[in-house]
């Protein structure tokens, strides 16, 4: 208390000046509406700046919750999108939930790999979250890979950047099918082969999943054609595809469960056994 009194006595002139300056400013704003509006505008600039900084700090501190909520929202939207794409192929529209073949879950990439010949990604969801081997994994802009192994809380994903791994793909809007594979050099490029030269293709055409496997639903974008060669002999194009997803910078992914996958595989197996 004594210390405060000493400060007040020492700085009495400054304190008096500041006090009277405050009264002068209030008096000025009271006397003149022009000054009042100018002061109010100045006050808005100052308080707006302060509250914006506070909000930025609060947003930063609540980023984890925001991310979780956005991931959940994205999963739901992906699921809806798959539903609509599925509904386009039905003769009659139906809201029967049994027709919803796909369930989408979100996950975070804990380990990524793109420089090896055969790349594996680890995600933070496992069997305890309903993840099973064979489920497909997609990113914000396209396909990522397929679940290879699972543990209770983690899963490994065979990336599409995996030599000897090929995906059924088609050219959007043209119906031409082919096999997409990675040559092992550039993590942003893949090769689409087995597309017959009777099909007309062009640079810029979008490549999407063909839906002819039990893994990826039909119509998920993969990349765009950036170059193609018409062979002098043989009947197939050699097409170079630029991937839409940046697999070198993965943070959040979505796992798609095809509810009818086991039925598809059983039928496929029976058909193969029957032909032997």
């Amino acid at each position: 208390m004594q210390w405060i009194l000493n400060i007040i006595i020492q700085k009495r002139n400054l304190l008096l000046f500041l006090f009277l300056l405050g009264i002068g400013i209030i008096f000025s704003s009271y006397r003149s509406s022009y000054h009042q509006s100018k002061l109010q505008r100045f006050g808005i600039i100052i308080s707006g700046g302060i509250f914006k900084s506070i909000n930025n700090s609060k947003s930063y501190l609540s980023l984890t919750e925001s991310n979780q909520s956005l991931l959940a929202e994205n999963s739901a939207l992906h699921q809806e999108l798959l539903q609509y794409k599925q509904a386009e192929n039905l003769i009659s529209e139906s809201t029967n939930p049994e027709l919803n073949n796909y369930l989408v879950r979100s996950a975070t990439v804990v380990k990524n790999s793109y420089a090896k010949a055969r790349n594996i990604i680890i995600i933070d969801k496992g069997t305890s979250d309903g993840i099973l081997k064979g489920m497909s994994v997609v990113g914000p802009n396209g396909i990522i890979g397929i679940i290879k192994q699972t543990s209770a809380h983690f899963s490994s994903v065979i990336s599409i950047l995996y030599q000897d791994f090929s995906i059924n793909a088609k050219i959007q809007g043209k119906g031409a099918f082919g096999s997409l594979s990675w040559e092992g050099y550039d993590p942003t490029r893949m090769v689409l082969s087995d597309v017959s030269i009777i099909n007309t293709i062009a640079v810029g055409d979008t490549i999407e999943t063909g839906g002819m496997s039990a893994y990826f639903p039909k119509g998920i974008p993969i990349g765009t054609i950036i170059d193609f060669e018409t062979p002098t002999s043989g009947g197939y194009y050699n097409i170079e595809v630029a991937l839409l997803n940046n697999l070198t910078d993965l943070e959040h992914v979505y796992i798609i469960e095809n509810k009818k996958r086991s039925e598809f595989i059983d039928l496929q197996k029976k058909s193969e056994d029957g032909t032997r």
Binding site: L21, G24, F27, R31, H35
Partner: protein, 167 residues
């Protein structure tokens, strides 16, 4: 003590009356008006209480704003120069001036003119800035500051010389 206080009151009253009744009606070039009441702040004895001077400066500007129906610019400007006066004195006369009163000072006219000029300049700049309160009017603020400073300086210097001769 009583004599001093009465002297201050009288000086205060004379400054306000002269400014409001006489000098506020001078409108040189259509916009310039001398602030002769500053003589009260400038001639205030250096050895008297700074605390009291700040109060007086505030009151002087406040009363003038009431009388002139202005926006409070006089209050803020006069308060400011009352507060910064010790620094201006130190800058103009050195750490210890040779006299505690401008009216009995024997130091060079240059120092006295510097002191008076600085006080008026700072006062006018703050007064005009608060009156216009807009960066877009900087040219107007500077013009009014320079012209009013020159006019007030001439009048205050003449007043000081007259007062000194009387002493």
């Amino acid at each position: 003590m009583v004599q001093d206080s009465l002297g201050i009151l009288l000086g205060f009253f004379v400054a306000v009356t002269l400014q409001v009744l006489l000098f506020d009606h001078i409108n040189l070039f259509g916009f310039s008006c001398p602030s002769v009441y500053l003589f009260f702040i400038i001639s205030y004895r250096f050895d008297r209480s700074q605390f009291f001077l700040i109060l007086l400066g505030f009151l002087l500007g406040f009363v003038l704003d009431i009388m002139q129906s202005s926006s409070g610019a006089n209050t803020i400007a006069t308060l400011l120069i009352s507060f910064i006066r010790p620094w201006v004195i130190r800058f103009s006369f050195g750490i210890i001036p040779d006299s505690n009163s401008l009216l009995s000072m024997k130091s060079r006219m240059g120092n006295q003119a510097l002191y008076i000029g600085l006080m008026i300049l700072i006062h006018q700049f703050v007064l005009q800035s608060v009156a216009y309160f807009d960066v877009a009017h900087t040219t107007l603020i500077l013009r009014n500051t320079l012209v009013n400073t020159a006019l007030t300086f001439i009048l205050l210097l003449a007043t000081l010389n007259l007062t000194k001769k009387k002493n």
